[in-house]
């Protein structure tokens, strides 16, 4: 970052141009109604009205800072210093480039998932399946099924609870449990991807990651920012709905043929629904709340409010965060914020206790075994190790294959 800032040319005659691949779209949000969505590479930005005007003005053959300043004067009251800062920010992010500079300048940095992650199913491999699902499955047809599922759930949980509880204990030593959960989680992620295709936006790969301390599967649906909040809710809810329908299938099968395996299908998918609806970590519940409130970057809002409150406690006067100035959702947001604070206190204590026990166990059985035993049940530990081993084999074989032509070329050179 430091080197890029040094080479930014703030001279009046330096000409800047918006990169051709940059897209400017409407952005459905509550905090800044006039803001626009700017997409650069695979990154999404929320730009204020004047910043958007700058990007739009630079979409042509390019403008010098002097020309841009004159252009903006009758539209937005922006000072010369502010203009330079904004253009510099846009340049650092790779949204605009210096036309006169022969050096390419900063380019958009590809997005990476948080934590340790790797893709398992690439987007292009999933495309035929998501295309098929997006065309053949109608959301309207799923709602009656989901309603019937609720009734079936209540009935089965009341009448088969004696069979469902032992299935939980059987989970650690029934191999089918690992397959059921792998299938359920993959279907959950596939549903998010299919919902993206259904709403006309791209989806990324399905992969494996360690989120906080939890092994998890993920789908990259960042392109859903392009959608209005109503459609974003469809993408968010598709995973949970699929897990619920799989649980309903388990409930129906359990009703017809009482069996521990079907009890496990019901139990695993119901627990997936409940865990995923947690609105305090970045899982489905979080995105559902964020899109229902139409507040992007909700976690950052929570952090800004906490910082503001701490400053107030220390008698420091700071500007009220935008979310607290937004009318219409204040009561709902404050209720959410208080619950978030309570959850974060509990989660902090959980992580603290987890770390303490993790290190005690690590001394006895090693770091990897200690981590696995505290985050996964026995069969799932084996499955996660298999996934990681498969990935290592895949990466190694890919490297060897890519080295093949280079090695044969070298050998041919040696022979000559």
């Amino acid at each position: 970052m430091a080197s890029t800032v040094l080479t930014f040319q703030a001279y009046g005659y330096a000409r800047y141009q918006t990169r051709p691949e940059v897209k400017i779209l409407a952005f459905d949000n509550r905090l800044r109604a006039s803001a626009r969505l700017v997409i650069c590479g695979d990154r999404h930005y929320e730009l204020g009205r004047a910043a958007t005007t700058i990007v739009e003005a630079l979409q042509g053959p390019g403008m010098s800072l002097d020309e841009l300043y004159d252009f903006l004067q009758d539209r937005h009251p922006v000072t010369r210093g502010q203009l330079e800062v904004v253009v510099q920010q846009l340049w650092v992010l790779g949204i605009v480039k210096n036309v006169d500079d022969s050096a390419p300048g900063p380019t958009p940095v590809p997005r990476k998932p948080p934590g340790i992650a790797f893709p398992i199913f690439r987007a292009e491999w999933l495309k035929p399946l998501t295309d098929f699902l997006a065309k053949s499955v109608s959301a309207r047809a799923l709602w009656p099924l989901a309603c019937a599922g609720v009734v079936l759930h209540i009935f089965v949980w009341l009448h088969f609870s004696t069979m469902i509880a032992p299935a939980l204990r059987a989970h650690s030593h029934v191999a089918i449990g690992a397959m059921v959960i792998l299938f359920s989680v993959t279907m959950h992620e596939l549903a998010h991807a299919a919902a993206c295709t259904n709403r006309g936006v791209r989806h990324g790969p399905i992969g494996f990651m360690i989120y906080a301390i939890f092994p998890a599967f993920y789908t990259d649906v960042s392109d859903a920012w392009r959608l209005p909040s109503r459609d974003r809710l469809v993408v968010d809810g598709a995973g949970v709905l699929t897990s619920f329908l799989l649980a309903t299938l388990g409930a129906a099968l359990l009703f017809i043929w009482p069996n521990r395996s079907f009890a496990l299908l019901l139990l695993l998918n119901d627990s997936l629904v409940l865990v995923n609806l947690n609105p305090f970590l970045k899982m489905d519940g979080y995105w559902l709340i964020s899109d229902m409130l139409r507040v992007p970057n909700l976690m950052s809002c929570n952090q800004a409010v906490t910082k503001w409150l701490l400053n107030r406690l220390l008698w420091r006067k700071r500007e009220t965060p935008a979310i607290l100035r937004t009318k219409g959702i204040l009561v709902v947001y404050l209720a959410y914020y208080l619950l978030w604070c309570a959850f974060m206190c509990w989660f902090g204590f959980y992580i603290f206790t987890f770390s303490r026990i993790f290190w005690v166990r690590a001394e006895e059985v090693g770091i990897i075994r200690s981590f696995l035993s505290l985050t996964l049940s026995a069969k799932m530990q084996m499955l996660v190790l298999l996934i990681i081993a498969a990935r290592v084999v895949y990466s190694t074989s890919k490297t060897i294959i890519s080295l093949g032509p280079a090695l044969s070329k070298n050998n041919a050179g040696d022979l000559q």
Partner: protein, 54 residues
């Protein structure tokens, strides 16, 4: 808030550039193992009382 401050605030909002969070829909692989590990972590259950596989 006086007029100058209002203008400054409006300018700041108009010039804002915020990167939106990447939307990774995550699903914890083993929610049952996770929920089962909670009593183990908090030392509320002895061995053979959970499914944590330890």
């Amino acid at each position: 808030m006086n007029d100058d401050k209002k203008l400054m605030k409006m300018q700041e909002d108009d010039l804002i550039i915020v990167e939106l969070d990447s939307r990774y829909d995550m699903s914890i692989i083993d929610p049952l193992g996770l929920t089962a590990a909670v009593p183990v972590i908090f030392n509320q259950a002895g061995c053979n009382n959970c499914v944590a596989g330890c």
